[in-house]
């Protein structure tokens, strides 16, 4: 009984149904401005590194834009598949820990029991103060 539906489905295929990975709509939208690039690099603390990376992001956005076609009126966002259950919470009893030495061992820069960071409150230089994409 399913086989007949299968054959109909195959016929529809031959009729030129679109597959999942249609490349036509993955052109860049050109909306990644220098401002957005700078903003993202600052937020992510990861740099694009090349024009290709920017183009890849544009394609990723164009791909994500396909979601607009779905009607989600009245649909609640789903955060977890276990949303109907109560999250387990441990009781507030400290039974483990005291492993500072073990944890400090994994860091490159430690002074006594401190992880050492360089000075804070210094912003990353703005894009125009940096070199243009020279890596990648």
């Amino acid at each position: 009984m399913w086989a007949r539906a299968w054959r109909l489905g195959l016929r529809a295929l031959v009729g030129g149904r679109r597959g999942f990975t249609c490349k036509a709509d993955t052109k860049g939208s050109g909306r990644i401005t220098a401002e957005v690039i700078e903003h993202l690099e600052r937020l992510a603390l990861v740099d694009f590194g090349s024009q290709e990376a920017v183009a890849r992001l544009e394609k990723a956005i164009a791909f994500a834009d396909r979601l607009r076609a779905v009607d989600t009126d009245g649909v609640e966002p789903m955060e977890s598949v276990l949303e109907d259950r109560c999250l387990y919470l441990r009781s507030d009893h400290v039974i483990e820990g005291n492993c500072a030495e073990e944890l400090l061992q994994n860091s490159h820069r430690v002074v006594e029991e401190y992880f050492v960071a360089p000075p804070g409150n210094i912003s990353l230089p703005k894009l125009d103060e940096q070199e243009p994409f020279s890596h990648g």
Partner: protein
């Protein structure tokens, strides 16, 4: 011995036909011979031999810990292993030695398993072979002729699994046969106080009943999975499998999962967003790689992350951050969460209509040669290869890939069964029936190695290595 099922090896160990040390050494020898495959990032030879010694003592006294005592296992390198380097195949974690074991690793060790080493993966499990977030247990299983099981989300602890997408990650199990997967699942499943996303329901041991009569089963064939990109060989095997069930009396019906075509896009947005958040912890301060720049905290973080992450990882972090920007949050992230609900609901509707299990392809085709594979970029590959597998991750459902047959090129092809949430036992029972029917040929490892050794002496293999 190395081609046998878990139960067979376990029986041999109990009867003294082979000792854990001998088994361990055989394994280590094959690992050495196949080093060119770069399958292992770290081989924990000393640890394994010591564990083998202890297992041997237990067997001599007749006190074996169970079916897994003395059994060699390998663990993907994104699971924390105490005292053994855990890198996620990334520069970011080169040299990182966790001070604790992931819960699933601990459970296996408590049963006496021998840890042979940490296996390779795409950096932070973000390749097209995916993470057990999008199908990376089932996809490789299908390509390599193994059983790949993704249990229900919430059944197995993620504590110690370096997270990619918290709402979808599940530790996956790769074994030679369905029975073995059930044994391992039985050891791993259950509530973990250290992972509050594990369910608290008591978990029964996974003894699979023998299924002989499938006439009461209803198998669903999702019509949207019949795509133009599906290879004719896989399509034909899928059809054959459906016919097999029907001929044995099962009800086989076409069903619809209407939002299937949006699941890859939805996954792409949710995945990159959660990744952006999860990768934020890698700043070089407490663990992992740290660059030499000392000018400022931000400059140090930025350089550390540039040096530590590859292009794919950085690309996903940037995409994720884009979707999470205040002006984009509703239209991308929340929108994707809504679509996720629609996708999950599609499955609920189908299972509520009387379907017991869905039967689908696992992959579009047999494994593609490396030179072909690298022609497309990572996102395109993920989009293509995860098509059939990631919807189960979005809905949190159990899914298993079972090898069915060899392609015309002699490469394995597997099919996927998707079950109802927390009905992993039923799913595996049906999978085992199917496995028995199709009798997929067991690989003759020794013959293969003998054939290969002369070929590989002369060939230069392309490989992506952390330790270049």
């Amino acid at each position: 011995m190395l081609g046998r099922t878990l139960r067979e090896v376990s029986a041999a160990l109990k009867q003294g036909h082979i000792t854990p040390t001998e088994l361990c050494q055989k394994c280590l020898s094959i690992i050495k011979k196949t080093k060119f495959l770069n399958a292992y990032i770290t081989v924990s030879e000393e640890v394994a031999l010591k564990q083998a010694e202890e297992s041997e003592k237990r067997y001599k006294k007749g006190h074996s810990l169970g079916d897994l005592d003395g059994i060699p296992i390998a663990v993907k390198d994104n699971f924390s292993t105490s005292g053994i380097e855990t890198t996620c195949a990334s520069n970011m974690l080169r040299g990182y030695v966790p001070p604790y074991n992931a819960t699933v690793v601990q459970k296996l060790l408590d049963q006496g398993a021998l840890l042979m080493g940490k296996t390779n993966l795409d950096e932070f499990a973000m390749g097209a072979l995916g993470s057990d977030t999008g199908g990376s247990t089932r996809n490789p299983a299908a390509h390599c002729g193994l059983v790949g099981l993704k249990p229900s989300y919430g059944l197995v602890s993620r504590h110690g699994l370096i997270p990619l997408v918290n709402s979808m990650d599940v530790p996956g199990i790769l074994t030679r046969c369905v029975d073995d997967a059930a044994i391992v699942l039985g050891v791993l499943a259950g509530h973990d106080p250290k992972d509050s996303t594990t369910i608290q329901d008591p978990v029964k041991p996974f003894v699979l009943p023998s299924l002989t009569d499938v006439s009461k089963l209803c198998i669903g064939i999702p019509k949207e999975y019949l795509t133009p990109e599906l290879s004719s060989e896989v399509r034909s095997l899928w059809s054959k499998a459906a016919n097999l069930f029907e001929s044995e009396g099962a009800k086989v019906i076409e069903v619809s999962l209407p939002h299937t075509s949006y699941s890859i896009v939805c996954y792409h947005v949710l995945c990159t967003s959660e990744v952006a958040s999860n990768m934020a912890r890698f700043d070089g301060l407490e663990y992992g790689h740290r660059c030499d720049i000392d000018v400022s905290t931000e400059a140090m973080y930025a350089a550390t992350r540039r040096e530590g992450f590859n292009d794919v990882v950085r690309g996903r972090i940037l995409s994720g951050n884009f979707f999470l920007l205040k002006e984009n949050y509703e239209n991308y992230f929340v929108k994707a969460q809504k679509v996720r609900r629609l996708i999950a609901n599609d499955f609920v509707t189908v299972f509520n209509s009387g379907v017991d299990v869905l039967l689908t392809p696992t992959t579009l085709s047999e494994a593609v040669p490396y030179t072909e594979f690298i022609k497309e970029d990572n996102r395109t590959r993920s989009a293509q290869d995860d098509i059939f597998t990631q919807a189960a991750n979005m809905a949190g459902l159990p899914a298993v890939s079972v090898p069915m047959a060899l392609s015309n090129q002699g490469l394995p092809i597997g099919l996927q069964f998707i079950g109802r949430a927390f009905c992993d036992q039923e799913l595996l029972t049906i999978a085992r029936w199917f496995e028995k029917q199709v009798q997929f040929p067991v690989i003759q490892l020794q013959e293969l190695m003998d054939d290969c050794s002369s070929v590989f002496e002369n060939e230069k293999l392309a490989s992506v290595s952390l330790k270049q």
